[in-house]
Subunit: 199 residues, 2 copies
DNA sequence: GCTTGAAATGAACCCTTGTTCAGTTTACCG
DNA sequence: CGGTAAACTGAACAAGGGTTCATTTCAAGC
């Protein structure tokens, strides 16, 4: 039988993913070598291949899992009937989720170009599904006359860019607290689409 | 004397920068080799070193020049007394400038991590100056009571992220024209800070 | 305690990297 | 037309890349 206590496989596997995520985010996928990852994990480079078929899969799996987690968390939210409330909830959710995972977010948005076509298509489809969720909210708000939007697709991308930008500067323990930041971004999002902030 | 007509140096130099810009934007600095650049220019790798001391300088110069151009263009704008007008002008300017140079923009925002500390400091200072220009507009609008902003620094970064996001999707000849896009972004920016769109 | 097999080593594989440089080409100047 | 210097080649360098694999380690189960 497989070993249990004392076995390292259940520790090394996740550690590789964690280290790779941090290094990829910090220096970029192409700039990080398998030997660097191995060194930080405390293992030889060859050992990495017990946990991943190759470097590319390490990246692709990481991105896919991040986006699947994001979509799953989004699906767990209630669906408020009021579009303004739905948008405020989305904005808070998005900022909060991204603030807590800056490395994964950065990689998912920046390393798309380093994916082979097959992996790229998978990841892009997931991202598209997420954007569609926001666009549906905007569409409904516009149909109900509470949002004023010349173009919902453009607004979707503009809002996501604005909200995701939080990862560029937010640091835990900084000048602004997390709750505060969520509120400000949600307000800006609501105002940007022509709805008053939720009180 | 130096040759003039027939000399390639005044052609090869700019071509190297142009090719490098496109490749860095497409694949990332670390993923592009000097041999790839040379091949696209139609020259041997060694010849690149007649025009740049090393690969790192190629990147750093590119980023510095982009940001200097951005700041110079910004400085050429008039300074409208009305904050809302100033913000609308800034938004239009930012989107327009970025739409026309997607590769340079992408590199300036994404390859910061690949700069050596000395180059990084220079580039970061330029970017900071640009952000400060927008923050000054927001600050003045808030002081005059026409913008409602809990935090001007956060708003600055949120707006820049939103506006810069245009490079993620805008393509010349697409569904929306450039003028149209400028207008929509400017409106969203104004609304986001609590000012009505300029008419 | 001995066997077993998963976990990890460490050396090797071949390829590509950034960079250098002695030598060749080329087109202008005098 | 010959000399000159700029522009470029092409081969070499040492270092590091991703990946493989025969071998060693060692805790778990009998």
């Amino acid at each position: 039988m497989a070993r249990k206590t004392g076995s390292h496989s259940e520790i090394t596997g996740p550690r590789i993913r964690a280290v790779a995520e941090r290094l990829f985010a910090r220096h970029g996928y192409a700039a990080v070598s398998m030997r660097q990852i191995a060194a930080e994990v405390g293992v030889q480079a060859g050992a990495l291949y017990l946990y991943t078929p190759d470097k590319q899969s390490l990246l692709a799996d990481m991105m896919r899992e991040h986006l699947e987690g994001l979509l799953a968390a989004l699906a767990d939210l209630p669906a408020p009937p009021d579009p303004a409330e739905a948008l405020a909830q989305f904005a808070r959710f998005h900022v909060d989720y991204h603030i807590l995972r800056p490395d994964a977010v950065f990689i998912a948005y920046m390393e798309l170009r380093n994916l082979e076509p097959a992996h790229f298509a998978q990841v892009e489809a997931l991202r598209r599904r997420y954007e569609d969720a926001l666009e549906a909210i905007l569409q409904r708000g516009r149909d109900m006359g509470v949002f004023s939007l010349p173009d919902t697709k453009l607004a979707t991308l503009a809002l996501i860019a604005m909200l995701t930008g939080v990862t560029n500067w937010y640091r835990e323990g900084g000048r602004l607290g997390r709750a505060e930041v969520l509120g400000i971004y949600a307000d800006m999002a609501l105002k940007a689409v022509g709805a008053g902030p939720k009180r």
